[in-house]
């Protein structure tokens, strides 16, 4: 089951928070392909938010290809596929890098430290994903 948390009062809209968390969950391997997502109504009632917000988040997730809808059954985590053109993907990566780097630099970290932190994190993610995959097999 998906464990989502939302925070009100932040400058990230609620639907964006859902999108981000689902995306992260899928990317990190916490939600393998085929995991069912709760219905819009159920998630709205679980999070106590407007169903339209959930619907909008799901629509974004479907558009991005993270999630697919199966008629009459609801939403499921989809096989990863390219939704964006290469150019767009690069732009988005660039934007993510920029905000990450500006934050890291302002905290006083410099090149080597940042690089090693990123690599450590990546390694951990891969190992987690690997165990999940093994289990599924």
């Amino acid at each position: 089951m998906l464990e989502l948390r939302i925070v009100t009062g932040s400058n990230v809209p609620l639907y964006q928070q859902i999108v981000d968390q689902v995306r992260w969950g899928v990317a990190s391997g916490a939600h393998p392909v085929g995991t069912p997502l709760p219905s819009v109504r159920a998630l709205a009632e679980q999070l106590v938010i407007n169903p339209n917000t959930v619907a909008r988040a799901y629509a974004d997730l479907v558009r991005e290809g993270v999630v697919e809808t199966r008629a009459g059954k609801g939403c499921f985590v989809a096989e990863p596929r390219k939704v964006y053109a290469d150019e767009e993907r690069e732009r988005r990566l660039d934007a993510a890098l920029e905000s990450f780097l500006s934050e890291a630099l302002s905290l006083g970290y410099r090149g080597a430290a940042i690089r090693s932190a990123v690599e450590q994190r990546l390694a951990r993610l891969e190992s987690q994903g690997g165990t999940r995959k093994r289990e599924r097999r």
């Binding site: 009100t8 400058n11 938010i49």
Partner: protein, 312 residues
């Protein structure tokens, strides 16, 4: 009855109410779409309660008109009133009445009263039906009011500041109840609130009233997307700003000018880029901050902190 199938649950046209020579609600024109959860925002005294009373026909408009569920608000028939659930501000209950008696009293007026819903909400708020109204806590009173408002299964739910005086748990219960209402197709909720977190959670659309004037009426996302904070960094002292359309507030700190701008667009961006800037970043705001800057005092804000620093 064809009128009742209009796409809007509420539509007002130039609705105005004066108390003496003071306009409390001024030329209000808005529409509440059927099936939406509509948040009415504004500071104290901005005319939210008056607007709600006007809509429900509890006050006669000085001018203008409003149509609620297809009927003019000045002439709501009992049948139309039966389709509207109204939760008055402050959760009024009759202190001497026991909870069960209160339910029976209210049930007598509504042909569509659903006792299961009433009991369900009472259970949700853990209210003992044998207690008297005056012995209930604020949250329990809110629960009782809510139960009585929801039990007739209203088509339109009008809540006047339902979260007032409630603790977080009771507030959460209230929101769940609101969402419960919208589960049925075509049920509309109009509520006024000060609690932006609640609005962010449940509202589709918001209207912002400022001293009786409607300043904004749009979806929640549009509202927060269109109020932007722009941080301008200057190398030297900030220059005098040119006229910026939609400027809500500015905040000067060392070498930095933070502007909150409504309807930020390319034209505004060009104006700002014309300034001798070192750096400029534009970012969306949280709903609460957007609202604060939106209805707060317009113009320049400098903290006394800065003055102290200058003296030091």
């Amino acid at each position: 009855m064809s009128q009742t199938n209009a796409p809007e649950a509420i539509r007002t046209d130039g609705l105005t109410r004066y108390f003496g020579s003071e306009a409390v609600v001024k030329d209000l024109t808005l529409a509440v779409p059927r099936g939406s959860v509509f948040g009415l925002l504004g500071r104290n005294g901005s005319g939210k309660t008056t607007t709600i009373r006007l809509l429900l026909g509890l006050l006669a408009p000085t001018r203008g008109s409003a149509v609620v569920l297809g009927s003019p608000c000045t002439n709501l028939s009992p049948e139309t009133r039966a389709r509207i659930g109204y939760l008055a501000e402050g959760h009024p209950v009759f202190g001497w009445m026991r909870v069960a008696a209160f339910g029976r009293f209210q049930a007598g007026f509504y042909p569509t009263w659903n006792e299961d819903v009433f009991q369900g909400v009472l259970r949700f708020f853990q209210i003992d039906a044998r207690r008297r109204g005056r012995d209930l806590s604020r949250g329990e009173r809110a629960g009782l009011c809510l139960a009585a408002t929801l039990a007739p299964d209203p088509e339109l739910l009008v809540l006047d500041d339902p979260a007032i005086g409630l603790d977080p748990v009771a507030r959460r219960g209230l929101l769940e109840a609101l969402l419960y209402v919208t589960r049925r197709e075509g049920r509309t909720v109009l509520f006024s609130s000060h609690v932006l977190a609640d609005v962010e959670r449940v509202a589709d659309r918001v209207a912002v009233l400022d001293r009786g004037v409607l300043r904004a009426c749009c979806t929640v996302d549009a509202f927060r997307e269109r109020v932007r904070r722009v941080v301008l960094r200057f190398s030297g002292a900030p220059p005098t700003l040119p006229e910026i359309p939609g400027l809500l507030s500015r905040w000067i700190t060392d070498g930095e000018l933070r502007l909150t701008i409504a309807n930020y667009d390319a034209a505004v961006q060009r104006i700002l880029e014309g300034l001798p800037l070192e750096r400029m970043t534009a970012e969306p705001l949280g709903l609460e901050e957007a609202f604060l800057d939106y209805v707060g005092d317009r113009g320049e804000r400098t903290f006394f902190l800065q003055g102290r620093r200058a003296e030091a």
